[in-house]
Symmetry: none
Subunit: 215 residues, 4 copies
């Protein structure tokens, strides 16, 4: 079941150090776990499944991970930053266009990775994970908020909206978008969502100005 590499060139030295192999195996396991968690859910997936799917024996699984949960944590650590929506730069181009592009990229990436789908199942089971996630969210919110504050100081935002709430709303949209596209029969339209977000952030006349400046 092992032995799939090391036959690429003739005469090869024992050039692939064991740590690399080990890392590869570890990775194969994580990847296998990711697929199965997404496909069948976390608790529906057994350690044996993960090992089999990675092409190793169950014993090997336990050599690399203390248990299923730890594999999951590793999965997260590896990919957490992929989950984090990028912070938009509001003033270096047409915000609507920038946002639409960012949204599309982010949603697509989330869908590729897919782990966000198992999160809800896990939070009650794993307070530590939960902690990590909440922390990540809090940071994200701070970053959003401070970037909004910057453009507020430039007088670009609505005067009558609470920026904290604006940041929260935008995050809500950005985070939950891809899971909740079954509402309408229409395809999700990134440009339209971008418009809505811009409306929450900028008064229309400001937006026009920004669009003209850079367009």
């Amino acid at each position: 079941m092992p032995d799939k590499e090391k036959n690429q060139l003739a005469g090869e030295f024992p050039f692939v150090p064991q740590q690399v192999r080990a890392q590869q195996k570890r990775h194969a396991l994580i990847e296998s776990g990711r697929c199965l968690f997404i496909k069948n859910g976390y608790s529906q997936t057994t350690a044996k499944d993960i090992a089999a799917n990675a092409g190793v024996a169950i014993g090997t699984f336990y050599r690399y991970f203390s248990d299923k949960r730890q594999l999951l944590r590793s999965l997260f650590e590896e990919q957490l930053e992929m989950l984090i929506p990028p912070e938009p730069s509001w003033v270096h181009g047409d915000p609507e266009i920038l946002l639409a592009a960012l949204l599309e990229k982010h949603y697509k990436r989330l869908d590729e990775i897919g782990i966000h789908r198992v999160l809800p199942e896990l939070l009650p089971k794993d307070p530590e994970l939960s902690e990590i996630l909440i922390e990540a969210r809090r940071k994200l919110h701070s970053k959003f908020l401070s970037s909004l504050r910057q453009i507020e100081e430039m007088g670009l935002t609505w005067k009558d909206l609470d920026l904290d709430t604006v940041a929260w709303t935008v995050l809500m949209i950005v985070e939950n978008g891809p899971q909740k596209t079954e509402y309408s029969d229409n395809e999700i339209n990134y440009a339209e969502i971008a418009k809505v977000i811009c409306r929450i952030v900028f008064p229309p006349e400001i937006l026009v100005r920004l669009q003209n400046k850079e367009g």
Copy 2:
């Protein structure tokens, strides 16, 4: 464990019908399930836990439900409509105030019931349940959309936003609000959220007009 009723009318006939007791027990089980699902997650909760928590034997659980999943379904059927956000009436009062009140009521109710928290865990496991939920969401989206179309015809909405997307955005906010309050250290502020929603729906001058008309 038994003995909780039989004090309804004077005379004390042997009249407490069996069905009443049975229904009460069934209810105790559902309630017990609800609590434990919310507290520990669905797959973390065993049938035995639910029975014990309801103060009955495991056999009793299986008298009323074929299994854990069926209990969950019953729970849903009983409370699905409680989960559905109410449809706001946009033009019979200050929309911001109306919305804030609705939001507060809805969020509080969701938090009391709490099942929405297990939903994401369940959807991959129970396609039937998933179906029900998606359907409910679709209907809700339609209702929102058509109510927005009405006020659009009255010329009250932004001309440049796609109403379908607006409806989607509002639902996103309304549905996910209570779960995601860990972002900021501030308390969730219904009035501010209401303002943001109103901004997405109404141009400011329209909103002012609506507020003055009824205020």
Copy 3:
């Protein structure tokens, strides 16, 4: 669920004494047990099934029988003699015809009653029952043997066969016949079996004599 009798003539006195009713219920239960045991096997049949099939509540079952096994014993006690093959009278008519008639009657009766089919399942579980059965068989064997001895003294049997073994063989045929008819595609033929039995018991010339005497 009860109340099915006592409406036969007008003005009727409370004339059906309880014991009769009780006996009827008891009987209904035994009968119900018999059917279900035969259809589904003993251990496949639950006390609840038996009660339901008899149209009474499970509590009633336990009023009449201490448990399933006791019901079975009662069933046996009631019907044991029906299971016992009749002892043929060898010399009062054509033995082949007499035997064929007896066999047919016996096999048919066994099939109607049907309990012989659950016996094998029960013997390991219920040594007491087992005891009863072995005893019944032993008696039957004795009866057969002594009846064979009588005709032996009249010089009607083979001289070179051990009568004990002859009796054993005949019982083997008589007892197992109806269960083992799947061997051949042909219908079971009582007359032919009777002939075989007669061949074991009587030398042909004796048989002819007996047939002529009475025919």
Copy 4:
């Protein structure tokens, strides 16, 4: 619990292949099942019993068998042919002696194996098994019948008996013998049974001829 082999050849390589051990454990389970089924009956025996009796944990049982029934099937597949009575060769020696020897060997083997005792309990529960058995019986009957037909053509059988019924009768005796020895207090006497069978098959004068020819 482990350690029972590894002494086959000198040198003691780490050469006992896992499959051998596994097969041994599988066998231990089957054997354990056989004993318990015979002693306590099929439905009285639990998977746990079987595992414990084989000296392994319950999980090990389920590694080798999907459930109790499957173990039983394996047991059958392994030993079905042992259950099948051998076909006698009627004319190559004194039939009585040959038969007595065959009967003794067959009965003893049946008693050693013992599974025939659980058969009757199983047939109603397991139609598939039932099918296998009926088929085996039908084949056996055919074989018997055709061997009888052969000696019939040689003029060695009774003219007035139906060979189909003769075959059926012989099988009845051969199959049920060992279970039903409780009839009489005497030991079962193979020679006497053989005599009875011969009487059903051969007219006495033919038998004498056969005995003299080869004796």
